[in-house]
């Protein structure tokens, strides 16, 4: 059974220059204990999709669609209801650990706040729990460290504190938004390994948002590739890395610098730049950068769904797996959920 099921998620931002469609009809699900990677370039909409689900969009943002967590729709919840779930059943870790910690409070105070809020424990119990959690993320001398302020920790240690805070209430789902991007490679390796271990131990599901496919290979089960607000491909980690279907995924993989190969070949690069989300227009959004572009790409590409659940939004037919269904771009728009239709017609009127 899916733990989280997101369907037809739309996220828009009103800016002085016009409306930006950050996420356009995204569907995905996360099963219990599963680890899903959402991969894409800056502006692909990967962070905003998750922020919308968690009710954390900026003021000028609006979202619609469904996000069912354990059967309840997060998108319909009031702030109070969401607050019971956020930080407790769903935890988040952000990219920059320094800006997500309060510089004026000791680590103990910040961690205790989470525990007292969600579990109603007393202070001494909360402190013991915090120390225990810091030990679990392998912070040396946690009894001492818990009394310190964030600036007394190094970048890697701060990210460990963030992970410890996230795991305090034993969440069923951890959302990690570029958790290792701001860290050095050596520290990145430590953190990735730690997250993988903790997840296996507690059978926690995870959504890892990243632009770095290499990190994904290490700790994820399934990958969802986004481009210009849409899903372009999804599949198991083996499918994506060894048998990528969509030209964008193929290009992304080829442009990664590889440590395990000593060739002197030029690095493959995807030409051009990501499209402007302000005036996307129809057709395949990737067509201007695509090496396999055809005439039909001016039309919206179909979303091909194979029997084993992998999907590719492209006119090029998937090469393996039986194709179960093919939604054309047009019909996908018609299928959209009632709320979204209402909203869009309202704005038209």
């Amino acid at each position: 059974m899916s733990l989280l099921e997101v369907s037809d998620l739309q996220v828009k931002f009103d800016t002085p220059e016009g409306e930006v469609q950050a996420v356009n009809g995204l569907d995905f699900s996360v099963r219990r204990g599963e680890s899903l990677a959402i991969v894409g370039e800056s502006g692909a909409g990967k962070s905003q999709a998750v922020m919308a689900i968690m009710g954390l969009l900026a003021e000028n943002g609006s979202a619609c669609g469904k996000a069912k967590f354990k059967g309840q729709d997060l998108m319909q919840m009031s702030r109070q209801e969401l607050n019971k779930i956020r930080g407790c059943e769903i935890a988040m870790i952000f990219q920059d650990p320094m800006t997500s910690l309060n510089p004026f409070l000791t680590i103990e105070k910040q961690m205790a706040e989470v525990i007292t809020h969600h579990q109603g424990l007393r202070r001494e119990e909360a402190r013991a729990h915090a120390v225990e959690m810091l030990r679990a993320v392998r912070i040396p001398a946690p009894e001492e460290r818990v009394k310190q302020y964030p600036h007394e920790f190094s970048g890697g240690m701060r990210q460990r504190v963030m992970i410890a805070m996230g795991l305090l209430c034993e969440p069923g789902l951890l959302i990690a938004d570029e958790p290792t991007t701001a860290l050095d490679v050596t520290v990145q390796a430590q953190i990735t390994q730690l997250v993988g271990e903790l997840r296996r131990k507690s059978n926690m599901a995870m959504i890892l948002i990243t632009h770095d496919l290499a990190v994904v290979a290490e700790i994820c089960d399934r990958v969802l590739v986004m481009y210009a607000g849409q899903l372009v491909e999804t599949g198991s980690i083996e499918d994506i890395f060894y048998r990528p279907q969509h030209p964008y995924t193929q290009g992304l993989l080829a442009s990664l610098p590889r440590m395990d190969r000593l060739s002197d070949d030029e690095l493959h690069s995807i030409p051009g730049n990501p499209p402007n989300l302000m005036n996307l227009g129809g057709g395949c959004h990737f067509r201007e950068r695509c090496s396999k572009v055809m005439d039909v790409c001016k039309d919206d590409p179909p979303l091909q769904v194979a029997q084993d659940g992998r999907q590719s939004r492209c006119f090029i037919e998937m090469t393996d797996g039986e194709i179960a269904s093919t939604e054309t771009g047009d019909s996908a728009e018609l299928v959209g959920s009632g709320d979204c239709e209402k909203e869009s017609t309202e704005t038209v009127e």
């Binding site: 890697g156 395990d260 690095l267």
Partner: protein
């Protein structure tokens, strides 16, 4: 062998800060660059790699004279740049240029692309005819892969990758002989990173530039460098030819850096995970460890490492390493895809 264009000898940069109140003022010295020496030949690329705080950017700035070195020499074609006056040094910057890390922050938002790229020309050749300046600017834009008709656009109208192209065009417009690239792609997306790396490589071959390419990990420098220097807390740990460094690193720190780069291959990643990573954090730079600076994190340390500072010395095959045990350690890397997957 040709004589090197740049010869850095025993370069030291200290930063001094003060702690305590007015009455109990204490001076603290942070040695950001600790006796670095290397040669750079014409048309060669030297990669400099190290974690945050290893002193690589400070080294770059000290070479350019943007930060004053406390000791040591920077010989540019036989002339010591550290001894030059401000105006003389400024003239040298026609030959030595820099590309910065953050492509957007390093461009003035109120200047057009054309203004930014042509500014060095106006500074160094104030009597150049405007038409000639524009022609050269447009030419430069074409060289770095921008459209010359974008000359009147402002930085915010370009993407990150395009902004970095403007930064590169600005550094090349004076026909320099050495360009120092300080993490030029770490702020860019993977697909764009590859574009910029290929552009730099291409330009280097076309223009015969010498390049110093600074990065925080070893994955990208591999594609662009002839030789690579690995820095840790201000000191050079290893300076090796590219192939040798990736096949058989001489220093345990280099080995750890190579092993920490994630491999985009699920099967290999699972294998690599079984190896142990480099533990712990970098020690405080105000209180560096005695003996080998890396000994607190080194899995191979012996008692000698805690007392004697290893000198950077030349090994048989011509590469340099600062490790007491370099002869005895075999740190070969066995992660080639070909052998990794059966």
């Amino acid at each position: 062998m040709t004589a090197p264009v740049l010869r850095v000898q025993d370069l030291v940069v200290n930063f001094t800060s003060f702690t305590g109140g007015i009455l109990q003022r204490k001076e603290r010295v942070l040695r950001a660059v600790n006796g670095i020496s290397f040669d750079l030949n014409a048309g060669e690329t030297l990669g400099i790699v190290g974690e945050t705080g290893s002193g690589k950017s400070t080294l770059a700035r000290a070479i350019l004279g943007l930060i004053k070195a406390n000791r040591g020499r920077v010989m540019w074609e036989g002339e010591d740049l550290t001894l030059l006056g401000e105006e003389e040094l400024r003239q040298k910057r026609k030959e030595i240029q820099i590309v910065f890390q953050d492509p957007v922050a390093s461009l003035n938002p109120r200047m057009t692309a054309g203004d930014i790229i042509s500014e060095p020309l106006w500074t160094f050749y104030p009597h150049m005819a405007p038409l000639q300046v524009e022609e050269r600017t447009r030419g430069m834009m074409k060289v770095v892969g921008l459209l010359p008709n974008q000359i009147n656009r402002y930085p915010h109208e370009f993407s990150g990758g395009q902004c970095q192209r403007i930064g590169i065009a600005r550094s090349l417009v004076l026909n320099p002989r050495l360009v120092i690239c300080d993490e030029p792609v770490s702020a860019l997306d993977v697909s764009i990173q590859a574009q910029i790396i290929n552009l730099l490589k291409d330009l280097q071959q076309k223009l015969g530039l010498a390049l110093i390419f600074i990065a925080h990990d070893l994955s990208l420098v591999k594609h662009i460098s002839n030789r690579i220097m690995v820095m840790y807390m201000g000191s050079a740990m290893e300076l090796s030819q590219r192939e040798a460094l990736y096949r058989r690193p001489l220093h345990p720190y280099t080995h750890a850096l190579i092993k920490s780069v994630p491999i985009p291959d699920p099967k290999l990643a699972a294998r690599a995970r079984q190896d142990s990573w480099l533990a712990g954090d970098m020690p405080s730079p105000y209180d560096p460890p005695k003996g080998c600076i890396f000994n607190t994190r080194c899995p191979y340390k012996v008692s000698r490492c805690q007392t004697d500072v290893p000198a950077l010395r030349r090994m048989e095959q011509g590469d340099w390493v600062a490790c007491h045990q370099a002869e005895d350690l075999d740190l070969s890397i066995h992660l080639d895809s070909a052998s990794g997957i059966n």
